[in-house]
Subunit: 434 residues, 2 copies
């Protein structure tokens, strides 16, 4: 049974803190193995990739088989049912429209001393997306990673996706095609991350790597960080639903189960101000768990990590939500917008009972790659800026240098950086001579 | 002597590639030591901090001495010369004005199916800045880290700065005071990073850690990444100057030396289309190196990592600049703005001969914390967004859910996520019943 906490209980603070700090995932320490794999790919390129793929994915490749050909992609995509293609296209169009609004603006202005200042945004030249194989191989995640990159203007976008025993997921390839991905490689694991970061004979290196993966992939991303940019290291998914009694318990139950069914380490939390409503949701979850296809996974997640918190009022709910900093936050209350204003830390907020979180996973428009494990305190969901960078610009005039140069000289001297000061002084002297 | 490359030479490509991939810094592998230090601070808090500070910084602390009191800060700041205070205040005002323009806007709109979509920015609640002790303890870096955090709206901003043998840098404290830093602790090294990430009895944990440091600090930041946000792992500084013959060789020499004097691993590069001008700059550098205070450091950097590249024309210069992706790029050419448009990858661009890079280090306004080691390909200088995060918002209406809900259901089914589909279906059924 999931835990039930009540804020007015004496032991609430201790139990809530325990809930927050509970470790939901045992990441095995694979760092040494991963370091070896990366070194191997750096040293031997394609040959290492092929050997590691034979070992881990049980398939024999040759250098010219590393990449999916256009023909192979087309043949697989032809297998995707028509309604699924239409749904992917609708999702892609909505995700694209949302992310196009995130394109940042350049700036340039003249300040009061005559200097021209500003900045300029540009896209990274090449990005690589990791797509997991097996159970967690989601075409929707391909759209969510690839579309922001393409909207940002990334010229070269490569996907790596393991195809264990040679089995590829046609919907993943369809999503890649719809999103405009340029290259698709049938490799996975730490070796694929190494190939993207350092390049091999066949796979050119990229500048930024995004996308979820297992412990090996996460360790590899952490290791290549700095050589290339990476996105967040994602943990197991989580949802917090804040709901009052005026909700259909079954809807709330399904929303919570749609996180729980991802993964045994996923977490579904409910905060409500009505204990009877809490009971009703718990009962609805138990009822749905009797027939749900993924009841083994969802049941384990709910039993081990689920929790229901009964609060005195919605202000209390807001302050607990900030401490949880959930990846997904559903506000099923009368005035969801007002409640949202009281909450600072959340990856994505879903307002009102007509906005199930699953809409955001697929067709809402906002990204579904969101900060997990309380990292919404300091990071954002995947967005267009993740594939762009800013160059600052400055132009001094002789007048501007006269106005502010001697302050720079003073600071340079105080930091014992003589050449810094002299580079300004030489120019000021020229102005004084003139 | 620094290397001289000429693009029309047969071996240019090989030598340029070697220059790009040359490793300028030998980071010792301190990861295991750092892991131990972090574990110790997590387990024993203040006691570990105090022990490690005694060991590494040769000073005995007690828990109540970890933090500088307001009185201590005031006493030290009183030692800062008046012209230095004025220069710090001018710098702070200009940095603040520049960064205030970076504050992002929230967005909210209704799409064609009636859904309300958007996002909201918010500041991280607490940030920690690492300030190195000793040679690289720069008050200007305190301004550059602290001001963007305060402009972003960070409520609690803590500095950690080692004070080896009990010696503090008054200008660092002055900069912290001017920037509005809330707490200053006299601890450094990996132990300070651990304290900021996990908290101790005296130092509350933060959500984001920025600031430069040695190999131990860098390794600690990499280890706590995910628990908290971090900025880039900074490498040794570098500058690329692109200059035509119509420049004062001594000015260019000083600009290059102002990078070289930072660190023996720093790199100063010149690209010019005139071999005679290249000779003149080299001669000017040699001349300045005879008297420069930091001639030992600057000379070693110039000798070991300096390079001059002679190109056929400025288009060639632009394309090489993109491959170098320099931290600092000075464009000392007739039409610097046009040349800048041809270059995509650079941390900061300084336009025209009246804009020495040192202006950007102190009083220009843009940030001087910039991507090193070619990471300008995928990352930006420190900015206000580094201390903020975005929450996406979505509200469906019954009509919007009718329009796009079944596509979500289709995709959920194709990904075998039944509860996802059911959470949408339950609502659609209600609408159909109505």
């Amino acid at each position: 049974m999931p835990v039930r906490l009540t804020t007015k209980d004496d032991d609430f603070e201790a139990r809530f803190t325990a809930l927050l700090s509970a470790k939901r995932e045992d990441s095995p320490d694979v760092d040494e193995t991963v370091a070896g794999i990366i070194a191997d790919v750096r040293a031997r390129g394609d040959a290492a990739l092929i050997e590691l793929t034979a070992k881990f994915d049980r398939m024999e490749l040759t250098p010219d088989r590393l990449r999916f050909t256009a023909k192979e992609v087309a043949a697989l995509v032809a297998d995707v049912p028509r309604d699924e293609m239409a749904a992917l296209e609708l999702a892609a169009a909505r995700i694209r429209a949302y992310h196009e609004r995130q394109l940042p603006e350049d700036a340039s202005w003249q300040d009061e001393c005559g200097a021209t200042l500003g900045w300029r945004w540009s896209a990274v030249s090449a990005a690589g997306l990791y797509v997991p194989g097996g159970l967690a191989s989601y075409p929707s995640s391909v759209l969510m990673n690839a579309i922001p990159a393409k909207v940002a203007g990334v010229a070269r976008l490569a996907i790596v996706v393991p195809t264990p025993d040679g089995v590829a997921n046609p919907a993943v390839l369809a999503a890649a095609q719809i999103a405009g991905v340029d290259e698709i490689y049938r490799v996975g694991g730490a070796q694929a991350i190494a190939a993207l970061a350092y390049g091999t004979e066949t796979i050119a290196s990229v500048d930024k790597i995004t996308g979820p993966g297992n412990a090996y992939v996460a360790a590899a991303k952490r290791r290549v960080f700095g050589r290339v940019g990476i996105d967040m290291i994602a943990g197991p998914s989580e949802i917090l639903v804040i709901a009052d009694r005026d909700n259909e318990p079954d809807w709330i139950a399904l929303d919570m189960l749609s996180q729980a069914e991802h993964d045994e380490s996923a977490q579904a939390l409910l905060i409500t101000d009505d204990p009877a409503f809490a009971d009703a949701v718990e009962a609805a979850i138990e009822a749905r768990l009797e027939t749900l296809e993924r009841r083994a996974i969802a049941g384990a997640s709910w039993r081990d990590f689920g929790a229901v918190i009964v609060v005195e009022d919605m202000d209390e709910a807001a302050s607990l939500a900030d401490r949880i900093a959930p990846e997904h936050l559903e506000l099923c209350v009368a005035d969801a917008e007002s409640l949202a204003e009281k909450i600072t830390h959340a990856g994505a907020i879903f307002l009102g009972a007509w906005t199930p979180e699953a809409i955001g996973d697929y067709v809402g428009g906002p990204n579904h790659v969101l900060p997990t494990a309380r990292s919404a305190r300091f990071s954002s969901g995947l967005n267009v800026l993740d594939f762009m960078k800013k160059t600052t610009m400055a132009r001094m005039t002789p007048g501007a240098l006269k106005a502010i140069g001697s302050a720079a000289e003073t600071l340079a001297q105080s930091e014992s950086l003589e050449a810094h000061g002299l580079s300004v002084r030489a120019r000021l002297d020229k102005l004084n001579d003139a």
